[in-house]
Amino acid sequence: MANFLFSAAAFVLAIVALGLLRILHGPAEADRMMAAQLVGTGGVAVLLLMAVATETPSIVDVALMLGLLAAFASVAFVKGASGSEMETPEASDLR
């Protein structure tokens, strides 16, 4: 079973690395951030697979932290993209 989980982790990792092509040729900043979000989710999946395959439960904590940091990275991007000249999206939704 560990071999299967390792190969699944390698497959997900390769797929996510392929998704990084979207960072390379954008076209918009938001598209690049979507690829970063995909890397965050894919990283969580790979870490969970490795945690079960190597029977090391503490890797689940690392996955939890990666999921948290990916969310914060995207929120920071949204704040930065809409902070200076435009109003924030949540404020414009309220009107």
């Binding site: 079960v52 969310a71 939704d93």
Partner: protein
């Protein structure tokens, strides 16, 4: 019983990896930003969810299983919020910004 659980793991993890592949292809091939965002949410919800479902029989104990499920719930919640925020940025910037 053990064989059935192993088969569940193989099936669910393979299906999750398939959704990761579908999400990546969508991210690379879909024509505009909102469609790409739509492909991305499938990875967050179904891809990671199926992988977690497949791993559940092997974590040993309900507490570890609960932790795995809560990782998925955190990623799902943050993914839902983040995609809403990114969609707001895309809509403000126009279709090609």
């Amino acid at each position: 019983m053990n064989l059935a659980l192993d088969m569940l793991t193989v099936f669910a993890v393979s299906a999750g990896a398939f959704f990761f592949m579908a999400g990546t292809i969508g991210l690379l091939r879909f024509p505009d930003a909102l469609a790409r965002l739509h492909a991305l949410t499938k990875v967050d919800n179904l891809g990671l969810g199926l992988i977690v479902l497949g791993l559940l029989p092997h974590v040993g104990g309900p507490l570890g299983a609960l932790k795995l499920v809560s990782v998925w719930l955190l990623v799902q919640l943050s993914g839902a919020i983040v995609t809403q925020l990114i969609a707001g940025v895309v809509r403000q910037g126009g279709p090609h910004a």
